[in-house]
């Protein structure tokens, strides 16, 4: 009885939310790309919307012509077929016009790519290492590093026939034990690599994903503008638990981040003293 009432209440509140702009935003987020929280992700969003509209307009014209033909040029309506079957001018035009549209699209795309590939002048560097099936984050030159694994409640609920309703788990499959903590307003350089197979580190709100490949170190960057928690997942098939190695980034204001980093340094200091290469020794002990 109580459960049915709470279900009913949940539905009621959902209906109320549906009318609010917040809910409309949530529904939109289920349909479209996120605008994200970095300069790059906003550029990507604008580019995505521009190409989407070009496709929609082209689609309306082409499909419009097809449906007009279907209605108008049907034998049952007494249509008599013409016999023309080529036109140099028309064929030239529909080769040239799309080519021009492509150039129009390529210009902002090239600019965005140049922006993404410019990792210079970064304020700090974080090394991201993919493992089957967890992430490791190392704050380069700070002596801080740790693993980030799917949170226990999600891990329990995701077992075959666990009987736990995923909806009852907070941030199901998108929660970790140790979040990646970063400051806002700073250009952060990410180095991605992997220890076993290929993974891909992806947070949609940052606007990109990058493969983590054993033997390779890939560079990318992000400048997060707003504090918040941003969630993502491994995007490259990496074995049986590929779906269960989420990424959680917590962006803090500068001062709070500094405080967090100092705390972590203090916690990890003895480990650093004990071993010259802490990351490797931890990896080896596993």
């Amino acid at each position: 009885m109580t459960t049915s009432i709470s279900k009913l209440a949940r539905r009621g509140s959902a209906a109320a939310l549906l009318l609010s702009p917040l809910m409309a935003q949530a529904a939109w987020n289920e349909l479209n790309l996120t605008k994200g929280v970095t300069p790059y992700s906003e550029t990507v969003y604008d580019l995505h919307m521009m190409i989407l509209w070009i496709c929609v307009i082209t689609g309306v014209l082409v499909f419009g012509a097809i449906f007009y033909s279907i209605l108008k040029f049907r034998k049952s309506a007494g249509a008599v077929p013409a016999q023309w079957h080529e036109s140099t001018l028309v064929e030239f035009l529909w080769t040239a016009v799309p080519a021009i549209i492509l150039v129009v699209m390529a210009v902002p795309a090239t600019k965005a790519l140049i922006m993404m590939e410019d990792v210079s002048n970064s304020a700090m560097t974080i090394k991201v290492t993919g493992y089957q099936w967890r992430w490791r984050y190392d704050y380069v030159n700070e002596g801080v590093g740790y693993y980030s694994t799917l949170a226990k409640p999600s891990d329990t609920a995701r077992q075959l026939d666990s009987g736990i309703d995923p909806a009852s788990v907070e941030n199901y499959l998108l929660e970790v034990d140790n979040e990646l903590v970063v400051p806002v307003g700073q250009k952060i350089r990410f180095l991605t690599t992997a220890a076993d197979v290929i993974h891909a580190w992806w947070v949609p709100a940052l606007g990109w994903k990058r493969d983590a490949i054993p033997g390779y170190i890939n560079e990318s960057w992000a400048l997060i503008k707003e504090p918040g928690v941003y969630r993502g997942q491994c995007a490259e098939l990496c074995g049986k638990d590929h779906g269960f190695m989420p990424v959680v980034v917590r962006a803090l204001p500068e001062a709070e981040y500094k405080a967090w980093l100092e705390k972590m340094k203090a916690e990890q200091a003895p480990a650093t003293a004990a071993s010259a290469v802490p990351a490797l020794s931890v990896a080896a002990s596993r």
């Binding site: 289920e30 349909l31 479209n32 996120t34 990507v44 995505h48 190409i51 496709c55 082209t58 689609g59 082409v62 012509a65 097809i66 033909s69 279907i70 040029f73 049907r74 034998k75 049952s76 008599v80 077929p81 013409a82 016999q83 079957h85 080529e86 064929e91 080769t95 699209m105 795309a109 090239t110 790519l113 075959l160 995923p166 909806a167 199901y172 499959l173 998108l174 076993d196 197979v197 290929i198 891909a200 949609p204 606007g207 990109w208 994903k209 990058r210 493969d211 490949i213 033997g215 390779y216 560079e219 491994c234 995007a235 098939l237 990496c238 074995g239 049986k240 590929h242 779906g243 269960f244």
Partner: protein
Amino acid sequence: MSTAAAHHDEHHAHHPSGITRWLTTTNHKDIGTMYLVFSLIMFFIGGAMAMIIRLELFQPGLQWVNPQFFNSMTTMHALVMIFGAVMPAWTGFANWLVPLMIGAPDMALPRLNNWSFWILPFAFTLLLSTLFMPGGAPAGGWTMYPPLVLQTGNAFPFLIFAVHFMGASSIAGAINIIATVFNMRAPGMTLMKLPLFVWTWIITAFLLIASIPVLAGAVTMLLTDKFFGTSFFSAAGGGDPVMFQHIFWFFGHPEVYILILPAFGIASAIIPTFARKPLFGYSSMVYASASIAFLSFIVWAHHMFTVGMPLAGELFFMYATVLIAVPTGVKVFNWVATMWQSSMTFETPMLFAIAFVVLFTIGGFSGLMLGITPVDFQYHDTYFVVAHFHYVLVTGAVYALIAGTYFWLPKWTGHMYSETLGKWHFWLSTISVNVLFFPQHFLGLAGMPRRIPDYAVQFADWNMVSSIGGFVFGLSQILFVVGIVKCARGGKQATSQVWEGAHGLEWTLSSPPPYHSFSTPPAAATIEGGMR
């Protein structure tokens, strides 16, 4: 047409009957039928795997299968559908139609033809047997990226040799088609008079010969990495895992045009027939197909933008990729222009062909979006990609195969199929396939990665919608089989021409055509009359 009866010759009675007929046949029509039946069986096996995938994804949480088996299903679904269903189906169409369309008695290399088919059952016995092996079927994705694929258990060598067999079969088939078209055309059938299906298949055959050996090399290097101590793709041994991706996609991108180019040929045959108007821009269709084939060899790295390439590389592959939109656009515009000021009727083949043009174009749009590198950093490896390639492969290649089957089935069997059943098949398929794949665009944009057995709850609604579409689409295909079986068993006798607007040499022969097709070359006038 009336002369067709004279083509019936005495050899007819000489071929063996029963199972030996099928084992030893060198007849292009028998081999074509075997290819088509084989591909239909594989279509249902691959489809059953897709049903398991959609069942598990029906709601969040794991209800039916464990993650390892789920990965096996996505891997095997792709391998079975690409190498078992679509590629053999195209070879089956080529076997049946190329000799009929160019006025030849049979294929140029009939024994090779028999062999190239009979490799396939062995290839797929190897591949499907891995489902019952310790460690399960391959689960590293059909792209077989190392190092992950090297973690495959007992199934690994079976996967490699199955791929080798499939490749050998495809190359043999391609050689045969090239030899046939270049040597056995009827007098007067110049290259620029070839039906577009023959043209697109010739181009496809060259793509196969150029790309399949590259795949064979790549998987052989995987084999030696696994068993013979080499380190081609192992960074720890001085090798390079990304090199595999470059080699694989140098095969893989031409491969996607191998799957779709013959579909362009089919649409170019069906639309003018039911529009009762010549195909618009025949020569630009030929040049566009050739341009697409050329470009397909210089765009491979757009499948791997996120591996971290130099800026110059990313720019080159982006520009080359979006350039493919130009010849592809020409094709779509030409089909629309063919329909303009025509006189259309809407039999089942035409319905599927029009749906092909519309839905393939939607897949083309998402392909254009994916080609833009900076945005691909978001789209890559999400359900947006899954939606894209299912629009081009299911509502593209498979729809063209279905359209072609209904179109030539009366020619092949001598009976008309049931138009009522065909229309039910069309409408149920077309509504459900969009319910199945369109929401996957939303899922991908909202952030759902591909190849995951379970997902966060915000993806639940559209996954459920997609799964419902999937179940209906899967069940609708039973109507296809019922229609084919009914048609093969009997029905209204088909005329030689079958369709009012049909042009081309295959429609001058009886339905079904005589055992040795054109035992005397058709007259030049017949070829001219068939040119539309």
